[in-house]
């Protein structure tokens, strides 16, 4: 003889165990996250066009 609630039990989804919420600090690198600087270390200008990326005003997009 089956227990009275056997059928009900087999269809009851398992509850996920409770996990206490936690605050996790994520360390960002602002200098890498906002595209604030040229991808190359050098800075070009009108006078230096030809030695850096063609068409560059202030940044060459070549390299990281």
């Amino acid at each position: 003889m089956q227990p009275p609630n056997a059928q009900t039990t087999s269809h009851t989804p398992l509850k996920k165990p409770y996990v206490k919420p936690e605050i996790r600090q994520v360390l960002l690198r602002p200098e890498e996250a906002v595209l604030g600087n040229c991808k190359t270390a050098g800075v070009s200008g009108p006078g230096s066009v030809g030695t850096c990326s063609p068409g560059a005003i202030a940044c060459s997009s070549l390299g990281s």
Binding site: R24, V26, L27, L28, R29, P30, E31, E32, A33, V34, L35, G36, N37, C38, K39, V43, S44, G45, P46, V49, S53, P54, G55, A56, I57, A58, C59, S60, S61, L62, G63, S64
Partner: protein
């Protein structure tokens, strides 16, 4: 190319920018890396008009975000406006780029005193082109991450994320040397979700190895990389992967809705695609190691 020529169109990760020269004084030249991302005439997601003029103070602008570097974002009459300043020139902006609120159209103006008569210019010069794509992505379209991305010989995409110095360029060079994999980028990858799942795309904003490819592929694995004493690939729990994603992203700090969308995207992608951490030595064996475990 001059202002009288036809416009040019750039497509990155399926998003298209159309640029029209709007000034006879402007000699437009497309950055060589960008050229392979140019497409035929189409209806673009963003229409940009470029011109030369005199940039002056803009006291009516409401500050929104200071990058701490080349650009700052303001609101002008409620619409976004970027101004670019370089130490080379001094405090006067060398470029201004103002857009409609939905970024469907905009105008770029270059400061005439800084240009020579014969100078040819790419009006969307970095970082404007990338900022523009980031704004389009934040409209629930996708995310860009700091990563090396490859398509393996079976056509499956793998993204290897990390900060500067983590080994993205090293890995890209090793994949290129040791396999027939397609290297999408050694520094920037875009991830998008389509009806058939997540995809990764190459971008023009490459790293030192200059890998920049327009291809795309279904995303099969997500790997956060770093140098280590040996090759070790470790599965990463979804919550930990979300945190790692944030550190390798370009969060739109000035856009709460875009920021929420980014978190939503990461929450979903880490449920759908397996994530790992990889510690590796910079030698060719890491390629075989990864092939045996990911492919």
């Amino acid at each position: 190319m001059t202002a009288t020529d036809t416009p040019f169109y750039i497509r990155v990760a399926g998003l298209t920018i159309g640029v029209w020269g709007d000034d006879p004084a402007l000699n437009i030249r497309i950055d060589p890396t960008i050229e392979q991302f140019c497409v035929d005439e189409t209806d673009p997601d963003v229409k940009v008009r470029a011109s030369v003029g005199m940039l002056t103070e803009a006291p009516e602008d409401e500050p929104v975000f200071e990058s701490g570097g080349l650009w700052k974002l303001s609101k002008r009459h409620g619409e976004p406006c970027y101004r670019f300043v370089s130490p080379y020139f001094g405090p006067q902006p060398y470029k201004e780029a103002c857009f409609s609120a939905d970024f469907s159209s905009g105008a770029v103006q270059l400061h005439k005193p800084y240009l020579t008569a014969v100078q040819s210019i790419y009006p969307l010069e970095y970082p404007l082109d990338e900022l523009l794509i980031l704004n389009l992505l934040s409209q629930r379209r996708g995310v860009e991450v700091r990563a090396c991305g490859i398509i393996d010989e079976a056509g499956r995409g793998h993204v290897f994320m990390g900060h500067s110095g983590a080994g993205k360029t090293t890995l890209a060079r090793l994949w290129a040397a040791e396999t027939n994999a397609t290297i999408l980028s050694d520094d920037r990858i875009i991830l998008r979700h389509h009806s058939n799942g997540y995809h990764l795309y190459g971008t023009p904003w490459h790293g030192e190895a200059h890998f920049a490819c327009t291809a795309q592929a279904p995303l099969a694995s997500i790997v956060f990389i770093g140098h280590g004493p040996q090759h070790a690939l470790t599965p990463l729990a979804p919550t930990a992967a979300i945190s790692r994603f944030m550190t390798c992203s370009f969060p739109p700090f000035y856009d709460p809705e875009g920021l929420a969308w980014m978190l939503e995207f990461y929450t979903d992608v880490v449920q759908a695609v397996p994530a790992y951490t990889l510690g590796f030595l910079p030698n060719a064996q890491v390629v075989g190691f990864l092939e045996s475990r990911l492919m």
